[in-house]
Each structure stands twice: as structure tokens, then as C-alpha cells.
């Protein structure tokens, strides 16, 4: 099989409200950062994939509206609705198709411009569910209760995810919410929906991320060391929550196994050096780690308490601060990929981890983790 690599990344700072910027302004900034990073000009890009959501953007065909600012004029542009990891998945397939050499993938959203609870409510079934007012937080609160009931993990134990990730964000210049907090602070924060308190939830955010994916024929012709895609997979669970086992994520376990198989990884705990994952809520970091095989079910909290997932721990998780420190919906998974790329190049700055040869980036599409996308990225082919 042909190979492809990520050769450029660009991230805007994640902020609560980029009131001065349009979607196109954010795309312009992220795309130009990615091109500069790669040592390319827009003329070196042969096609563009934009990732956005019409509901979040408040317009139809939202992806086309950022085409010009993304350098897509006169080029082949394609659109993905969903998390940025899925846009990048499509960009990767384009690289492997043989028809494209350099694909620019962007993901953007501005949570500040809409009402998060109404937007996520609109994702539910209009006949059976939407009228009851369910939104992302209430749905995930039910998943958190299901997970805690089955594993015995307590809200206090999960709160340590918030402490770690907000603390890591102090070292990441693009993070929105760097904070030095304690488990007590999390437990004292406002109860939103049992058992989730305000500091268990990721914030509402604005941001745009761009990455350049290159076919192996050109991957080494630009400025930066290519970071190779070794494994890549996604899997999807049932749409209706009531059909799923909410205490588990079978789709993630399957996606991770597929990605490990493609990468030739037999022992992920030993072979993967760091992880950036989709921690929209504290309990999710624990559940996602367990389903990907980095801890036994219900036991990630023990490794967390030992400091194993800290920046200087055995397996750093969300050294960037993760979604706890900034959650631009749609772009968030692409930020995970970009963060892993910086780490594997040794360019992550203050939050650089020590050993970083092989990294895992994870994105989620759909509420409560209906679908999961797992990337295994590596310094080596």
C-alpha cells in the first residue's frame, strides 16, 4: 500500500469568543500557519478538504463558504461534516488514491455564535427525543452515570482528569483554559447535570486547525520531517442511545483494534508513547483510554492517580490540555492530530513529552461517542 504523511500543521489560538473574526478569518490564519510550517505556498497544494457543520455555522453548505480563505480557488474542494479527524481521514484517502499529492484539510467552528444546548439538541431524533430537550451535556451525564454505576469510579476520581488537563494547558500557548485547580475546586464547581459539574465539562470554544497531508512521493520534498500515518480506522455505534451500552464504547474498542492492526502494533501500552484524545467530559478520558486498551475497564483512574498520564508520566495523555482546555467542535479532533505531529517532531515547546516516536490521536463524531476515529502517527515510516 502507498503511504502518506502529515507535513504541515497550523492552529489558531482556541478562544471563548473570537468576536473580531469570521469563519474565513480563522481559516486564513490556520491555513497560512500550516503552509508556513510545511514550507509551502498555496500553489503547492493540489486539493482542499474543509470540515464544518451547517448547524454550528448557522448556514447551509458551510464548508464552501470558507473555500476562498482556505486557498481552494480553482482547486478541487470537498466538504466533510463531522469531526476534523474524519475530514483528515478523507484527505488521507485522497492522498492514497494516486490522484492527489498534497491535500490541505481544515476544520473550524465558533461555539460562541450559537447556543450549544439547542445546537446539540438538534442532533437528536426529531420525533422521539428532541422535544424532551436532551442535549450533549444531559446525554453525556447519563453516559457518565452508566459508566460510574458499572465501574464504581467516583466523580472525585474523574475530577483528576480536569485537574491534569487544565494544568497541562498552562504550558500550551493555543489553549483557551489554562488553570491550576484542585479536585476540590472541580467538586465545588456548579452541578450542571448529575454527576457532571462545570469543571467536568469542556468549554464552548472558537478555533480552526489545518493540516497538510502528502503522498509519499512528495512527503520529503518540503521543510519539515514528515510524520507518517501508520494506522487509521473508524467505527460507528447505533444512532439511538437506547440501543447502545452507554457504559462502554464498543465502537472505540473496534476502531482502536483496526488501527493497531494496520500499524502492526501488538502491545499498544508498550508501543505508543503518547495520546491526544477527545475528553469532552472528564469521565470520557478514562472510558476512552480503557476501550483503547491502555487500562483495564474501570481502572484508568488508578493509573491517572499514579501520575502515569502526566506530561512526564509513562504515557502522557492530552499533554496539550485536551478538550478540557478548549473544545472547538469539529476542529477538536484535528487539533489532536496537529498536537501529536508537533510532539513527534519535538516541537511542542513547554508541553513537549520526553519519548515521542509513536503517538495516537483520537476524534469523536456523534453524541456520547457514537463514532470514533483513531490515528497512529509515527516518526518512522
Amino acid at each position: 500500500m502507498d503511504r502518506a504523511a502529515i507535513i504541515g500543521v497550523g492552529m489558531t489560538k482556541i478562544e471563548a469568543n473570537k468576536s473580531r473574526e469570521t469563519f474565513a478569518d480563522m481559516a486564513w490564519e490556520a491555513v497560512n500557519k500550516a503552509l508556513d510550517d510545511a514550507g509551502m505556498t498555496i500553489a503547492d497544494i493540489d486539493n482542499v478538504v474543509t470540515t464544518s457543520s451547517d448547524f454550528w455555522d448557522g448556514r447551509t453548505i458551510s464548508c464552501m463558504a470558507v473555500g476562498d480563505a482556505s486557498g481552494a480557488a480553482d482547486k478541487n474542494i470537498s466538504c466533510i461534516e463531522g469531526d476534523g479527524t474524519y475530514g483528515a481521514f478523507y484527505g488521507y484517502m485522497r492522498a492514497l488514491s494516486g490522484s492527489y499529492k498534497t491535500t490541505l484539510v481544515t476544520g473550524h467552528s465558533k461555539g460562541s455564535q450559537g447556543v450549544s444546548s439547542l445546537l446539540t439538541n438538534a442532533a437528536f431524533d426529531p420525533i422521539y427525543e428532541r422535544g424532551l430537550g436532551m442535549d450533549m451535556i444531559s446525554a453525556c451525564a447519563m453516559q457518565a452515570n452508566a459508566y460510574m454505576n458499572k465501574t464504581g469510579v467516583t466523580p472525585e476520581q474523574a475530577a483528576l482528569v480536569s485537574v491534569k488537563n487544565h494544568g497541562n494547558a498552562l504550558k500550551n500557548p493555543v489553549a483557551q483554559l489554562p488553570m491550576k485547580i484542585s479536585v476540590g475546586d472541580v467538586m465545588k464547581s456548579e452541578m450542571i447535570a448529575d454527576p457532571l459539574r462545570k469543571l467536568d465539562c469542556s468549554p464552548i470554544s472558537d478555533g480552526c486547525c489545518a493540516v497538510v497531508i502528502a503522498h509519499e512521493a512528495v512527503a520529503e520534498k518540503f521543510k519539515k520531517r514528515p510524520i507518517w500515518v501508520r494506522g487509521l480506522a473508524f467505527r460507528t455505534d447505533a444512532f439511538f442511545f437506547g440501543d447502545r451500552d452507554l457504559a462502554r464504547s464498543n465502537a472505540l474498542a473496534a476502531a482502536a483494534q483496526d488501527a493497531y492492526k494496520m500499524a502492526g502494533i501488538t502491545d499498544p501500552k508498550k508501543e505508543i508513547d503518547l495520546i491526544e484524545l477527545y475528553d469532552a467530559f472528564t469521565y470520557q478520558e478514562l472510558l476512552w483510554l480503557e476501550e483503547m486498551g491502555f487500562a483495564e475497564y474501570g481502572k484508568a483512574t488508578e493509573l491517572l492517580a499514579q501520575g502515569q498520564f502526566d506530561i512526564d508520566g509513562a504515557l502522557p495523555v492530552n499533554a496539550s490540555g485536551g478538550l478540557m482546555a478548549g473544545h472547538p467542535v469539529i476542529a477538536a479532533g484535528l487539533y489532536r492530530i496537529a498536537e501529536i505531529v508537533l510532539q513527534l517532531r519535538g516541537e511542542a515547546g513547554a508541553h513537549q513529552v520526553k519519548k515521542a516516536k509513536t503517538g495516537l490521536a483520537h476524534g469523536v463524531n456523534g453524541l456520547c461517542g457514537q463514532s470514533h476515529c483513531v490515528w497512529i502517527l509515527d516518526q518512522e515510516r
Binding site: V115, S117, L118, N121, D125, P126, I127, Y128, E129, R130, G131, L132, G133, M134, D135, I137, S138, A141, M142, Q143, A144, N145, A146, N149, E190, M191, I192, A193, D194, P195, L196, A238, F239, F240, F241, G242, D243, L246, A247
Partner: protein, 154 residues
């Protein structure tokens, strides 16, 4: 620095209208709740799973379902949350008074969980596994609100 006012463009009474098809399984489901206070599920001819709400197709087996079975009306709480923060109610456009309970109910005889409100008068009783019954609305129109909420009966 000058004060910043938002530019507001309003559309008067105009909305963005949209009509969703309920589908034939949904039509039967709601006719039964409205007329007979009965909860009905669809059974997969291949795997035997009973789905509530009904949706015509078993995604796992990828076959059509056309066998109906009555489920509930009693069940247990599969999982739940209690909302403490006022969100905008999409049915009214206003903030809904908090707190209130949401749950996924495992109706007797069903293999999936059905989403609804849970009465939280006594919060100490709201637990995964607690036995619940539906409280039917007086005036039923063939919607999810034919049931007002589920309440714990233990």
C-alpha cells in the same frame, strides 16, 4: 474605545419551517399511546431484539421488522441524570424550571432503552435499576408527551 453594539437582523414572524415524517412504525406507536395507553415495540425476525422506539429496520441484522409486541408499561431506570442548570426548552423557547430528571427506561420486554423524563420528587429513589411506571397525560395527542413522565414505584 467605543461601545460595541451587535448588528441584529430579525426576520419578524418568519421561521424556517420543516416537516418531519414520523414514518409508519412511528405512526402506529403514537396511535397506540394516544388511543390505548399502550407502548409497542418492533421485534427483529432474525435476532429477536425488541426495539423501542420502533424504527422499521434492525440495523445490526439489516432486515425489515414488521412484528409488533407490547412492552412495559413498567420498566427500570437504565441510566439517568438530574438537570440542575436551566437550558432553553426547545418545545417552548423558554428556560425550563430546574431541577428535572431525564432517564433511559428499560421497559419490560424491550431490548433497548426509551428516553423520557423521570419524576424526581424524591431524589434518593432515583437510581439505576429502580422500578418505574409511566404517568399518562389526560389529553394525549400522539406524541412522546402522551406520557408525562416516569416515576419510581419501589
Amino acid at each position: 474605545m467605543a461601545d460595541k453594539d451587535q448588528l441584529i437582523i430579525e426576520s419578524g414572524e418568519a421561521a424556517q419551517p420543516f416537516k418531519y415524517a414520523v414514518g409508519m412504525p412511528g405512526s402506529k406507536f403514537f396511535a397506540e399511546t394516544r388511543d390505548n395507553k399502550r407502548l409497542m415495540g418492533e421485534k427483529c425476525p432474525k435476532c429477536g431484539r425488541v426495539y423501542v422506539p420502533p424504527r422499521g429496520i434492525c440495523g445490526k441484522c439489516y432486515v425489515k421488522m414488521d412484528e409488533w409486541v407490547e412492552v412495559g408499561p413498567l420498566g427500570v431506570i437504565g441510566t439517568f441524570t438530574i438537570l440542575r442548570f436551566a437550558f432553553i426548552d426547545p418545545e417552548t423557547g423558554h428556560q425550563k424550571p430546574v431541577p428535572y430528571g431525564y432517564g433511559f427506561i428499560k421497559l419490560d420486554g424491550a431490548d433497548t432503552l426509551y428516553q423520557h423524563y423521570i419524576n424526581i420528587e424524591d431524589e434518593s429513589k432515583i437510581k439505576i435499576g429502580a422500578r418505574v411506571e409511566p404517568v399518562w397525560a389526560e389529553n394525549r395527542k400522539g406524541t412522546t408527551r402522551d406520557i408525562e413522565y416516569f416515576r419510581v414505584i419501589d
